[in-house]
Symmetry: C2
DNA sequence: TCCTGACTAGACCGATTGGTCTAATAGCAG
DNA sequence: CTGCTATTAGACCAATCGGTCTAGTCAGGA
């Protein structure tokens, strides 16, 4: 993955997102991120004055947007919620196969392993809420009654997060592909 | 939580399990574990020659057993699988409220944040397989047809893992309590 | 052309990391 | 009691951690 064309800031965010997903927040050294992104330390603290935690927050946000793009691509053209959800799980399974060792979203990586400040927790909470809201909006658009929509969105995110975790443990995306068959007939 | 009565080894395992769940593998320093368990460094390397990784493996195994005890207490007296599963989620929700900031199982903590050796991954995989098998056995005992049982066990673990993750993000166990109502009528 | 702010570059810092090593101590077998 | 092993105790170590700081580079406006 060559990222030479991106700006320094972008390269920092994307490589940080990748590394945090692979090895966790505390498991990733700043030097490692800097080396991988070919960025000197000075640049990091210019773009992210609060350092590592600042960078992690940006990485989480960036990844959340990427995930929402996948959601849009799945639910956008779908005839109904169940079809959209099924497509989503297949897309995620494919993504899993590509990135293999990476966790679903650095949001988890940050939640479990981020700095312990309250601000960080709040950020993780907000990101998850944004994702749930995003799915719920698609659900409503596809005709689900309003109260159901939120519940369905919540369940879907649980299955997504749990499914990715177990898939990672088993090192196989099959499990992710089996989910829609059980949940969305 | 006073653990003075336990042996040095036990104290090491339980406090490590607790800390790894709270702050992750890399996020927890050995000194921290040693201080909390009131154990000198020499003892650690006597009982766990391979150091931190060794300790983490033991902590993961210990927690897996604890989880299986909760599963037994839930499914053991249950009339059928769905009732057992419902009880399990309520028990887990209660556990969540007690331990608040801790992740469901250090197995995740290790998976996401453990050392990157293949041995470690294999260990995490084995622990998850053991948990799935455990639930599946209960399912069979409670009358589910054999092929269904494994699938149901897998789904339950996904919901458990995903549910805990989201609950942690939202800092509320409500979400865990809503799961059985959706899954197990 | 020169100035100025944004940005890059990396040497450097104290603190902390996981891990090693030696010495002291306990507990038990004879 | 003596002797031996299992365990405890913690000083110590190199490596790495996140973070600071100063110097240099570069583009664009005046």
């Amino acid at each position: 993955m060559d990222m030479t064309d991106f700006t320094t800031r972008d390269r920092l965010i994307t490589t940080a997102a990748m590394l945090f997903r692979q090895k966790g927040y505390h498991g990733t050294g700043l030097t490692e991120v800097l080396d991988a992104a070919r960025v000197p330390k000075g640049s990091l603290y210019h773009h992210f004055p609060d350092g590592k935690a600042d960078l992690a927050r940006a990485a989480a946000d960036w990844t959340a947007v990427e995930i929402m793009k996948i959601m849009d691509a799945s639910f956008g053209p779908a005839a109904n919620f169940n079809r959209g959800a099924t497509t989503l799980f297949y897309k995620v399974a494919k993504l899993f196969d590509i990135t293999q060792a990476a966790n679903a979203c650095p949001i988890s990586a940050l939640l479990f392993d981020g700095p312990e400040s309250d601000g960080f927790r709040a950020h993780a909470e907000a990101v998850f809420a944004r994702l749930t809201g995003h799915v719920a909006a698609h659900a409503v658009r596809l005709g689900l009654p309003e109260p159901d929509a939120v519940g369905q969105a919540e369940t879907l995110l649980i299955m997504l997060e749990g499914g990715w975790t177990l898939a990672r443990a088993k090192r196989s995306s099959d499990l992710l592909r089996r989910v829609p068959g059980r949940m969305y007939q």
